[in-house]
Amino acid sequence: MKAPIPALSLSHLEDALALHGPDLAAWPEDLRMGAQALMAADPAARALHGQAMELERLLTTALDGQPTAEDEAIARRVATRLRAAPLPTQPRPWRERAENWLAALGLRPAWPGVAALAGMAMLGFLLGGHLVEMGGVYGFSLSSPAPTRLADADVSGIMFDPDPLAENGL
């Protein structure tokens, strides 16, 4: 049994023509069948289709993508102006600017990755040294002397009650 042809209104046909164009072969099948049924029955639908075909013809022939003599003349003027004036400075990414700055000082690194690693190591060293100094000010020290006698040391954390079974010699 054949599926029923979907009903299409004139307004729906107008929208579909504006969306898909007048070439019904390119339409989704159910929409195409509905449009064909409507056009067979309604002269206004055929008129809409004819207008859409005429518009498409106009658009595709008049907007043919071929530059005109005026386009070429204006392009030549723009090219002449672009050649005549010095081009502006190109803004550079910060990394490239940093490398250029180092290069100007004769310090451009041969291997930027190694230089970055060395920089981070130097930063860590400086920060570490700074923390040691800060400890002296705020009451802690990373270099406080270790207790010299066991009696002076706090060993509560490692003391435990004797095993009662072992004490009885069992």
Binding site: A18, M53, G65, Q66, A75, V78, Q90
Partner: protein
């Protein structure tokens, strides 16, 4: 003296852009030679004014030069250039009302038959006038689709919208153009 960039027809736009990013002016001139005419043609039809189009296209290419060091080849160079030109045109349109070009200029390769040529000119003028009445984004969508022959997907990329957004713009534009250009009759 020949410069290395004189082999302009074989070098890809993206490779030229890599050289432009290094400050290579010869590569920039080659890109200009390749794309200026089409950029001018699109800008003239979008803006409807030769002086504005000239200004917009010059600015677009200066932006290409300035932005080259940060350019990432995620899309074709021509798509990116189209986007710059269209955005500049749309921004320009917000300031200046549209003045349709007369027939969008003479064809570069005129038809041999004078009568057909006149008819074609009149038709182009009528269409240019009707396109000039469209809102700026609809006009840009129509020109990218028909004049440039781009797909809805590429048009959407250039206009910074979705394919559905482009379809909506085209549907409205076609309805408006049909109402303006095609005389209604009882039967087509």
């Amino acid at each position: 003296m020949r410069e290395p960039d004189d082999d302009r027809d074989q070098t890809r736009d993206e490779d030229l852009m890599a050289r432009v990013a290094q400050g290579n002016e010869a590569a920039f001139r080659t890109l200009c030679d390749r794309h200026l005419v089409r950029a001018v043609a699109l800008a003239r039809r979008t803006l409807g004014n030769d002086a504005d189009a000239e200004e917009v296209v010059q600015e677009a290419f200066l932006r290409v030069w300035r932005a080259a060091p940060r350019w990432e080849p995620t899309a074709a160079f021509s798509t990116w250039l189209h986007r710059i030109v269209v955005n500049l045109c749309l921004n320009h349109k917000r300031r200046v009302p549209h003045a349709p070009l007369d027939a969008a200029g003479d064809p570069a390769d005129p038809a041999p038959d004078a009568e057909a040529q006149l008819e074609s000119r009149a038709e182009r003028a009528r269409l240019a006038g009707a396109i000039g009445t469209l809102p700026a984004r609809q006009r840009a969508a129509v020109l990218l689709t028909y004049w440039e022959g781009l797909s809805n997907n590429r048009t959407a990329q250039i206009m910074g919208t979705t394919v559905g957004g482009v379809e909506t713009l085209l549907v409205r534009a076609r309805k408006a153009l049909r109402a303006r250009l095609i005389p209604s009759s009882d039967e087509g």
